[in-house]
Symmetry: C2
Subunit: 226 residues, 2 copies
């Protein structure tokens, strides 16, 4: 009997893992399409990124629901509990990666009226290659609970930060040739963006409150609930 | 006996709530100082934002640890389980708010060599007022599980988005007066930033993997563990 329960539990975890991988696959597609659309100024491809968003949101909700049900029903301890909580948190991060891909798709629409720069957005291509590799590696590492691969991804994040710093420096050089005050303006927008994201976080927290009280998720009102 | 356990459980939840509020208070201080530092070009005040980061990180880890222990020990069902999971997720969001405040503090150091613009960063001040109100309201709503207040915060997020759009439009106007291609450059940096954050998310997911396997948290290596 105990073995039967354990087998059932294993199959529940396996199904959760499949959900997470399905979600990861969709988000990876969003990211690849968005990055490719940006560097080639392909607005048609950018539009495809938005169409995937509904499915990603639906999967995140399904993942959260399943995790909560399993915790309540199985009352797992220690490692199993940490796994379930981590799957939920990973789902949240994947969904936010999808959000960023949508932002890149919107940027594409804005830059598409300009010529592609001579270097073909080399800095963006470099960053894209690194983060796609990070994403696929971490998803694979999650499925196999591969600690070495996880540490590898964590270490790689510094390369992405360097890549961003290089793109940022190039912009400031370009701006410096034209105006003394554009640096101030750019930093103003960056700050506005940071504030805008803080608003998102506050909104998230409020949505958790609704979730606690109502037992349902208001994060993606458009997503179909099972 | 059962009542005794329930009282003990209540006091555990209360102590969790206090931890979350303490963390929220620190993050709010970071946000207020960072926003004030930016609009007044006060680099001394900006430096204070960084000094609070260690405490915020420590509190996030403590919050996560406590939640996992309570779930494992008490095996709560339904609403209590949702509450504990939501406290953990809220802790994650608060910590990221603190990260954004640090970014604003770094922006301050970069703009401080320029004169303060004639409008005194009116758009930033407007956004700051809204997000501080969102943050204090949502924390208060969390403590009281106040559904109406939570929905109010969720609705207010649209105002922050509008505030950002206004700042963004003002920058593009300023740039348009100087160059045909700076729009492209600015969008390139935005895209780079989005990719950089995607790297952060992938890193987060890998850290969850380490957490599952090792049972400890690698997110803030500098933070003291209890």
């Amino acid at each position: 009997m105990s073995r039967h329960i354990s087998e059932q539990y294993d199959s529940e975890l396996e199904s959760l893992n499949r959900l997470l991988m399905e979600m990861g696959g969709l988000v990876e597609r969003q990211l690849r399409s968005a990055a490719r659309a940006f560097v080639t100024h392909d607005t048609g491809l950018a539009a495809e990124v938005f169409t995937l968003e509904t499915d990603v949101n639906r999967l995140e909700l399904a993942l959260d629901d399943e995790c909560v049900h399993i915790i309540a029903r199985r009352q797992p301890a220690a490692r199993d509990l940490r796994l379930l909580i981590s799957i939920m948190k990973a789902g949240t991060d994947l969904e936010r990666v999808g959000d960023e891909a949508c932002k890149i798709a919107r940027m594409t629409e804005q830059v598409a009226t300009f010529p592609i720069p001579d270097n073909g957005y080399l800095g963006i291509q470099h960053m894209r290659d690194i983060v796609i590799r990070m994403l696929t590696t971490t998803l694979d590492a999650f499925a196999r609970l591969d600690l070495d691969a996880a540490y590898e991804v964590i270490a790689t994040d510094a390369e992405v930060d360097d890549g961003f710093a290089a793109v940022d420096r190039a912009l400031l050089r370009e701006i410096a040739e034209q105006s003394d005050f554009l640096q101030r303006s750019v930093n103003t927008v960056w700050t506005a963006r940071a504030l805008e994201r803080i608003g998102d976080h506050a909104k998230n927290i409020s949505e958790y409150i609704v979730y606690v009280i109502r037992g349902r998720d208001v994060r993606h009102p458009g997503a179909a609930r099972s």
